[in-house]
């Protein structure tokens, strides 16, 4: 199928999907909730991709990379835009420290065994294997707030645990994306192994300075009175430019656009004008991105992948379950964090998917297909168990808080 027809098909699916997501009646069922989180569109993409109908063939996907770029950039920008210092400073400092500590715990706890497992099971050069294990570790530390927000709408009572969990899942992605930016800079494809430090600092500097500069420019361009369409032109232009530069230099589009979002959000006073634009395009773009991710997915379930998925989930769960109470005690939280609390942080959602596909695009190697399979299966399973996990932990803890 020609790329432009595929693009048209995606518009149609995005339209239908976003209507269904908005109109659907919400009931507490993990299957319904996974539909509302949109992850089923990955399966639709898989069906439309090379392994299914072949509508979204690799050639077509190549032609649709600007759409990937926009989708990933939009997710990154929207995420960064929510990280507004004015809002974040309301939370106690120990919340931030807990978030960072928990992220590091889960990442190290997941990555370290995976390095050993990868070395045993795969024959690729060691620096590739270590990078992939590191990326899975970072993915394990990422959270998404979508499911928690959905499930908590049924909660009869919300307290400290709920607010802490909301903070952690909202901010947790930041550390993961920053970690991945570091990894992608110092483990830069295709120059892995050559002049790591110099090129790493150049890449990291570019990933940070470019969106920083453009974020300031964006702010100055929109500081005066601008029409909605003018705002849209600047927003689209900035996201395309920054995310495109990410693609062009194999930087992480999520990171560069997140920095753009953070810079702009903390400079501008136009939140009330830009949010409607961001949110209006969010659902259709998100669905398009998920479908494309599904189509890009070279799904291949063998024993190694199945075991890796279980290992990823198990380590992630262990890291959260034991990490939260440990750091809670060390950081002298005014309320005790029980083991059950960490169970509520299992959803990686859309940010996790965007993270995984960024790796797949940045590192075009056979090993990244395995990585994508493990990551996506891990995320989907995580989304299925998350509603129960949140119910089990936060519902119960809510009554105690």
């Amino acid at each position: 199928m020609h790329a432009i027809y595929a693009f048209g098909l995606l518009i149609l699916l995005a339209f239908l999907g976003s209507r269904l997501i908005r109109k659907g009646k919400r009931t507490f069922s993990p299957l319904t909730l996974i539909f509302h989180s949109g992850l089923v569109y990955i399966l639709l993409g898989l069906y439309l991709g090379r392994r299914g109908l072949g509508v979204l063939s690799p050639q077509v996907l190549q032609g649709l990379y600007p759409v990937f770029s926009l989708g990933l950039g939009w997710v990154g920008f929207l995420f960064g835009f929510q990280l507004e210092y004015r809002y974040l400073k309301r939370f106690p400092r120990r919340y931030v420290w807990l978030s960072l500590s928990l992220f590091l715990t889960v990442t190290i706890l997941t990555a370290a065994p995976l390095v050993w497992v990868f070395e045993q099971w795969f024959d690729d050069p060691r620096f590739f294997l270590h990078g992939m294990a590191g990326a899975l570790g970072l993915l394990a530390g990422i959270h998404s707030p979508t499911l928690l927000n959905l499930v908590s709408s049924w909660m009869p009572k919300r307290g400290n645990y709920h607010y802490l969990a909301r903070f952690l899942v909202s901010v947790g992605g930041f550390w993961g994306v920053v970690g991945m930016a570091l990894l992608a800079s110092f483990w830069h494809f295709p120059v892995i192994g050559q002049g790591i430090l110099t090129k790493g600092f150049i890449m990291l500097g570019m990933s940070t300075l470019l969106p920083l500069l453009l974020g300031i420019l964006f702010h100055h361009l929109t500081a005066k009175r601008v029409s909605e369409s003018e705002l849209l032109v600047y927003l689209l232009g900035m996201v395309f430019f920054v995310s495109g530069a990410g693609f062009y230099f194999n930087l992480l589009p999520l990171y560069v656009c997140m920095i753009l979002g953070i810079v702009y959000s903390n400079l501008t006073r136009r939140h009330e004008r830009i949010y409607p634009i961001l949110l209006a395009a969010e659902k259709p773009l998100y669905i398009v991105l998920l479908i494309l991710v599904g189509a890009l997915w070279e799904f291949d379930l063998d024993l190694r992948i199945a075991l890796l998925v279980l290992l990823l989930l198990g380590l992630r769960l262990a890291g959260h379950v034991f990490g939260a109470p440990f750091w809670g005690r060390l950081l002298k939280f005014p309320f005790r964090l029980p083991l059950a609390f960490g169970v509520s942080l299992m959803s990686a959602g859309g940010l996790g998917v965007a993270f995984a596909v960024s790796i797949k695009i940045a590192y075009p190697m056979a090993l990244t297909d395995t990585f994508l399979s493990v990551a996506l299966l891990g995320i989907i399973l995580g989304e299925i168990i998350s509603p129960w996990a949140i119910k089990v932990s936060l519902y119960r803890l809510g009554s105690r808080a």
Partner: protein
């Protein structure tokens, strides 16, 4: 601020494309960065041109030319080709807007003037270029030692292509200047009607030219049936899509921007693939919604919401696609053709307006609304190039050079005409699209 932003974004792109960073880049993934750059850069250039009282559209086109594959090469030829994905989408949106801006009642009143202007312009331009070709072209040594029949074919096709005006450029300038009134209607509907008339005339001219230059090849009128069939199906599709949009606006309402994008996209791609006329389909669909339902204003508002970025990219890319090599090679003849077309358009408009009783202002200045040329002319030039190997390529090069001039000068002339006629800025702000300038943004 606009100037500082322009310099900054330009410097950034220069840095990103520098040979120093090239070894670390992935050239296959450069389309997005090119798209983002051109979106911001062209929009800012458009703001600068607006500040010196030129159309923003001219700024978009100039930005495309400057950054395109013939000047600074910030956007390569392959990136321009990749970005053509947006072309169909933009054309459909423009045609929907044009249809939505055409009010049946107003057109009825102007039918006489419209038909007279179109007929006189077409006759003047075609006959004028026949004369021009026969008298002037041999002076330039064009077509080598070719015979009279080849010269006649060349001139006839040149005249036919010179008849076309770009409706997309016309509607973009009209919406940008927020124009409304008698002259605006005449210019817009004239551009649209001529665009369709020229398709039929071109088929006739092509067949005639083929009969002239190919020994043993007779003149065929078989193309007429094909054209009638294509136009008939296009009209039917236009009505069907118009009805679909009305039903959607009435009963579904939500996600309007995505729906309009989907309709525009599918209409263009599917109709284009099957040889129908997407411009006619979308134009008629917009016309039906505006004149046979109460949803016209909602359609226009939805179009305005999604249109601006697409328009910026569309015109910037059209600027980047302009073949400057062709202009460089044959600029004297291209300049002559450009000037002669202007004279003939003036004559056609003057006589058409006089016959239909239009006022002196339109008689004298109306021609300047019909100068811009773009997509349809380009498409026809390519067909000529393919149909007549050898001189067809020379023809294509000349037409591309003339298009480059018309597309840069045309919007400026149209804007000046609309401002002078007093119709610019007449439309109420709610109906205007976002390319409007706000009072505090003019500098």
């Amino acid at each position: 601020m606009t100037l500082v932003a322009l310099i900054l974004i330009f410097a950034l792109m220069l840095l990103l494309r520098s040979p120093w960073l090239l070894p670390m880049a992935n050239p296959q993934q450069s389309t997005s960065v090119a798209l983002g750059f051109i979106l911001i850069f062209a929009f800012l250039v458009g703001k600068r041109t607006a500040a010196v009282k030129l159309p923003q559209l001219t700024g978009f086109i100039l930005a495309g030319i400057i950054c395109g594959p013939f000047v600074l090469k910030f956007i390569s030829a392959s990136e321009v080709e990749n970005l053509q994905l947006l072309d169909g989408l933009a054309l459909s949106l423009i045609a929907l807007t044009a249809g939505g801006e055409m009010h049946l009642e107003r057109l009825k009143h102007r039918f006489r003037a419209l038909s007279a202007v179109v007929i006189f312009q077409t006759l003047c331009v075609i006959l004028g270029f026949l004369g021009f070709g026969l008298l002037v072209l041999p002076w330039f040594g064009w077509l080598g030692p070719s015979g009279f029949s080849q010269l006649l074919a060349f001139s006839l096709l040149l005249g036919t292509l010179a008849t076309a005006t770009s409706p997309s450029t016309t509607i973009a300038v009209i919406t940008e200047t927020r124009s409304e009134g008698k002259y605006t209607d005449l210019v817009l509907s004239g551009a649209v009607v001529k665009d369709f008339a020229v398709i039929g005339i071109f088929a006739f001219s092509l067949s005639f030219a083929d009969a002239l230059v190919t020994p043993g090849q007779g003149f065929s009128i078989g193309f007429l049936g094909v054209i009638l069939q294509e136009v008939g199906i296009s009209l039917a599709l236009g009505v069907a899509i118009g009805v679909l949009i009305i039903l959607y606006l009435r009963y579904v309402k939500g996600e309007l921007s995505v729906f309009i994008l989907g309709v525009a996209f599918f209409t263009y791609e599917i109709s284009h693939s099957y040889g129908y006329h997407p411009l006619l389909i979308c134009l008629l669909a917009g016309f039906i919604v505006q004149n046979y339902s109460a949803q016209g204003d909602r359609l226009i508002q939805a179009l305005e919401k999604v249109a601006t970025p697409v328009y910026v990219v569309f015109f910037a890319i059209s600027g980047a696609s302009l073949d400057l090599r062709a202009l460089r090679q044959g600029w004297i003849l291209a300049l002559l053709c450009f000037a002669w077309r202007g004279v003939l358009t003036f004559a056609g408009t003057y006589f058409g307006a006089r016959v239909s009783g239009e006022d002196v202002r339109f008689r004298r200045a109306g021609w300047s609304g019909y100068i811009a040329q773009a997509g349809v002319t380009l498409g026809m030039a390519i067909v000529v190039g393919e149909t007549f190997p050898g001189w067809g390529e020379e023809f294509k090069a000349l037409v591309l050079a003339v298009i480059a001039l018309n597309q840069v000068i045309g919007p400026i002339l149209l804007q000046k005409f609309l401002i002078k006629s007093g119709e610019a800025g007449r439309r109420v702000p709610e109906r205007s699209w976002a390319m409007k300038r706000l009072p505090d943004e003019s500098t």
